[in-house]
Symmetry: D2
Subunit: 137 residues, 4 copies
């Protein structure tokens, strides 16, 4: 089975930082999305390919745990890893300091497949996902 | 001719404020949009009605002048006024302190009409705009 | 014991909505914050009062469950309720459609108190919180 | 005189794109800021160095002209160039398609120096700016 993970680097921008001089907690959701998008594109199943495949993949659950605050311009690594792909797509995230390696944030998202035409929820992930990931459930 | 203006109130939220403890300059564009959306809805020509009318109205020019910084929770008034509607839609904005009345920010946006089917730029505003505004160019 | 809850109304703005024509999932974190800020201000323990009291209250955990998508301009009610205040501050959120009453999103945040001078984590919520809420742990 | 410019690459993320499937107009202000921050850091006068030098540099004027819409994941180049540094800092921006080279957006920002202690506006840019840029006014 292939490694179902990808890591990107981000540096918090001025507009990401709040009056307490740390990244506003809601902005980590954007960092998660950048890492997940890069991960899914690596498997040729990014946003456009999802649409072409006839499925939408809305996020139905999000969790973020904040361990250490990140600051302006601090180099961060954002790792995204697929840990479930049978009935829903689960991606786990780990954000660490690019310098010390300290854990900054972790979390996960859950996505389900929805038929783009009928808008019907799929209780099993469509085959296209497994093909693109190179896995068998 | 009717008064082509509308005023809303906003209070900067925690996530609007930057490390210098003032509203991040890019966030005023959101305040402008809130006021413009309310203004256009007042004339039954909000986003949905624009789409139904067969036209898109992309913004082609934006200007923001910053006079005084706004701070967390400061009550602000955002006034939007249509000052051109012949060949393009110009909306001017004035943000003032809700308490002192001091000028905080001013600016404008320019929008042009684009035919949603052909994507052709309209060099004269479509009649539907004038009808909704109750004006004649 | 007083009712430790508050409800606000929000309407998703154009910039909140993603290419799938629904509110981008990360933007609900902003709606949660608006409701939590209004709730805490009601008890005279908003952001400024927190700072004055000598404590910071960083968010250490966030959960969002997405039940139904919200769309542009859809009237939403966002209810925030304090459900823990002993060792940490837990706020639970429920977002419902302002028209149908349907559940849209729910979730919670956890905050801990940190001494603003020493930056030491407080394992019990400081007394000031209980005084402001009118509760005894 | 050194070249007072810098270019970065950005790719619009899912959360940058609006229901019309193009980048929401306010988000270009973030792209401008990313390019300006990288430019100023190149001259050792980024946000932290500004603070250390005793000056704040608030933005007092912003202009954005929209030429072509940008779409999800489209590679963009964002060029920032300092074109004034005598009495105020003017940065001009040009965003082009990374593939076709087509112009997407252009604009400028104006910043003035403010003494961080007295909060007095400086009518001439402080010497530290010229030293860092390697210019003489």
């Amino acid at each position: 089975m292939p490694e179902l993970l990808h890591e990107i680097e981000v540096r918090p921008a001025f507009y990401d930082v709040d009056p307490m001089a740390v990244v506003w907690h809601g902005n980590y959701v954007r960092y998660f999305e950048l890492a997940r998008a890069a991960l899914m594109e690596k498997f040729n199943y990014g946003y456009e390919q999802m649409r072409e495949s006839g499925y939408l993949w809305p996020i139905v659950d999000l969790r973020v745990k904040y361990v250490k605050p990140a600051t302006l311009n601090q180099p961060l690594k954002v790792r995204a890893e697929i840990t479930e792909f049978e009935s829903r797509l689960r991606v786990e995230y780990l954000i660490t300091s690019g310098i010390s390696g300290d854990k900054v944030t972790k979390g996960y998202t859950l996505q389900v497949a929805v038929d783009a035409k009928t808008m019907e929820l799929q209780y099993v992930c469509p085959k296209i996902l497994w093909e693109r990931l190179g896995v068998s459930p």
